[in-house]
């Protein structure tokens, strides 16, 4: 089962400017990656880096401007609305804010029933009700939760419902878009545990979008680091965290609070993320990069292999040549 389930190639999504004649916002530019069945890909980056746009483009909440998205052999980028609806059960999404993502007028049981009914899962109402009870059990709820409205649940419980709703149709892949960032830290841990546990049990493919490096390290097999709508580094989670090959990743990692080591140098990025309507020439990160040289303004760095299965979009790989060992 090591074949590719999701294949994204050259995905680009630019949003038109609000102002007449303004430059478009370059949310995502030329992003490509493949996901094997059962694999977990972490997408990290600061806000505005295009993480959510990638997630929403994959499930076609946005129509990509260009590029291909294939999920289990189905062309999601080009599918008609009608065809798309039929295939939506292949990939589902858990949204960021569990409170606003649930319809306040619909009972939990009906939220799940609707998902089943739309995709024709369970031939009778009886069967579907049974499946709803199973789903509730899966997220640790008793069957009487079916009668509750979203406002009668806590934030963590609502996100459990969000997960059950997404998994109700037995998708082959799940996108969790900042699925825990709206929750308290203690609740975050529970939800992450639940996701990890369900993934082991149901072995779906997962794209985990987050700005929280610790959480991403915990759950991901592979990590893609985004900056200004472009992948700047991608590789096995362990490599990314132990020997990053891009100055931006280094900066992100250095920002993780680490109580055990005091010696780690913090790399403070200067300024803000540039305006995505008018990104810097060459390497988009160069304006905030401490290693930037003149060449960086003229050359667009390709995402090139630097270690087995590990790619970086930085032309200054010589910086890392001596760094044969692991990061402290």
């Amino acid at each position: 089962m090591q074949d590719t389930l999701i294949s994204v190639s050259n995905l680009t999504k630019w949003f038109p400017s609000r102002e007449r004649g303004g430059k478009p916002v370059q949310a995502v530019t030329d992003v490509s990656f493949d996901l094997k069945r059962g694999e977990v890909l972490g997408l990290v980056g600061e806000s505005g880096s295009g993480k959510s746009t990638i997630g929403q483009s994959i499930i076609r909440l946005h129509k990509p401007d260009s590029g291909r998205i294939d999920i289990d052999g189905i062309d999601f980028a080009g599918a008609s609305e009608r065809a798309l609806r039929r295939h939506r059960k292949l990939i589902q999404m858990v949204f960021q804010d569990p409170s606003s993502s649930l319809n306040p007028r619909i009972r939990i049981g009906d939220v799940l029933l609707e998902a089943l009914a739309i995709h024709g899962i369970g031939s009778t109402r009886q069967e579907r009700r049974k499946r709803v009870a199973e789903l509730l059990d899966m997220i640790g709820f008793s069957p009487d939760f079916a009668q509750r409205y979203p406002h009668q649940l806590s934030g963590g419980q609502r996100q459990r419902v969000g997960i059950a709703r997404a998994l109700a149709v037995e998708p082959k892949a799940l996108i969790a878009d900042e699925a825990v960032s709206a929750l308290d830290v203690s609740i975050q841990a529970q939800i992450i545990q639940l996701l990890a546990e369900l993934r082991r049990k149901l072995s779906f493919t997962l794209i985990f979008i987050s700005h929280d490096m610790n959480v991403v390290e915990y759950i991901s097999d592979r990590v893609a680091v985004l900056y200004l709508g472009r992948i700047v580094e991608m590789g096995p989670a362990r490599d990314i965290f132990k020997r990053p090959r891009h100055p931006y990743t280094e900066a992100l990692l250095s920002a993780i609070p680490d109580p055990s080591s005091r010696k780690r140098e913090r790399i403070i990025l200067q300024g803000d993320i540039p305006n995505p309507s008018n990104p810097p020439s060459g390497c988009v990160f160069r304006t905030r990069c401490r290693h930037a040289v003149e060449r960086c303004a003229t050359t667009v760095p390709p995402l090139a292999q630097v270690l087995p299965g590990h790619q970086s979009a930085c032309i200054r790989q010589e910086l890392y040549q001596n760094d044969m060992g692991q990061r402290s």
């Binding site: 319809n103 007028r105 619909i106 406002h151």
Partner: protein, 311 residues
């Protein structure tokens, strides 16, 4: 139950105040019911005698107290004009206005809500522009003028329905509907326009909500997203506006009943005012106030029905 008692507690002082104001205003009008009865050529003597008989010579506060005393016992007095008990007149006339209000509201909902949904779904498009233009015109047109236009078109030119008059539904159902068609449409137009604006605004707001995105991601058809997920949430402000509009609907009913010669509450009030027939005016007012309060009660109950969070 507690709410019901609250409402009734509000109702009593309201009725008292409105009845006093109405009483004083009618008295302030030049002329009185006695003059209306004996006619302009009557002698001073005849007029005095009529006044005595009708109790018009008593001081104003005393007359009010007499009226109130009997009203609390369920006797609203007799019309100064026809001598008929006011309660009997009300029994005949209330159904006419209720029918008008129900048809008017029904038509307004049937026109306004779907139009508002269409405008929201196709916002800034051609449909939206047309619907908005119609709504603006609908709100701007005065009832009496619209009524007259409708009569000119449907009664005089096309001769589909009679221009005015009334038969009760019990007597002649089809005839009743024919008589009610134009008046209902007349009061529905402005109401539909208001409903359309409100529906459009609240649908637009709801359609950007996260849970609508969730519904789409789930694979819900667009039709179901709009009619189930969105409309259900957009309904609360729509119901609020409906409740608030009931007052002006009754105001519209007064004008409309006059234009179409419908023997309803509104006509009863207008005639009563012209004839200085204060018992009739008071009786009609009483019913209208109760109707508005009851409408608020129903609106409140509807909130509970559509919004599980209000408990």
């Amino acid at each position: 139950m507690k709410r019901l008692i609250d409402y009734l507690a509000q109702l009593l002082p309201l009725l008292l105040i409105v009845s006093i104001v109405a009483f004083v205003l009618i008295d302030l009008l030049p002329g009185d019911a006695a003059m209306e009865r004996v006619g302009l050529d009557a002698t001073q003597e005849q007029l005095q005698r009529a006044r005595e008989e009708m109790g018009l010579n008593d001081p104003l506060p005393l007359r009010y107290i007499y009226w109130l005393e009997r009203a609390v016992q369920g006797d609203l007095g007799r019309s100064l004009r026809s001598g008929e008990p006011v309660t009997a007149t009300l029994v005949r006339r209330v159904p006419v206005t209720v029918e008008l209000a129900l048809f008017g509201t029904g038509l307004a909902v049937l026109i306004g809500v779907p139009a508002g949904i269409l405008a929201a779904v196709f916002r800034n498009g051609r449909i939206d522009a047309i619907v908005n233009l119609l709504a603006l015109s609908g709100m701007a047109v005065p009832f009496f003028w619209l009524g007259l236009l409708l009569i000119m078109l449907f009664s005089l030119k096309l001769q589909w329905v009679p221009p005015s008059g009334y038969v009760s539904f019990a007597e002649d159902p089809l005839g009743n509907l024919k008589f009610m068609a134009l008046p209902s449409l007349t009061i529905a137009v402005a109401f539909a326009a208001t409903l359309m604006r409100q529906t459009r605004a609240s649908m637009l707001e709801v359609l950007t909500a996260d849970y609508i995105r969730t519904a789409r991601a789930k694979g819900t058809s667009e039709r179901r997203v709009i009619l189930k997920h969105a409309l259900r949430n957009a309904l609360i402000p729509i119901i609020t506006v409906m409740g608030l509009q009931m007052g002006s609907l009754l105001g519209g009913a007064i004008v409309t009943e006059t234009v179409f010669a419908l023997p309803g509450l509104g006509r009863m009030m207008v005639d009563g005012i012209f004839q200085r027939d204060f018992p009739s005016v008071q009786g009609a007012l009483l019913v209208i106030i109760i109707a508005v309060v009851v409408t608020n009660l129903i609106t409140d109950a509807c909130y509970r029905l559509v919004n599980p969070r209000i408990k």
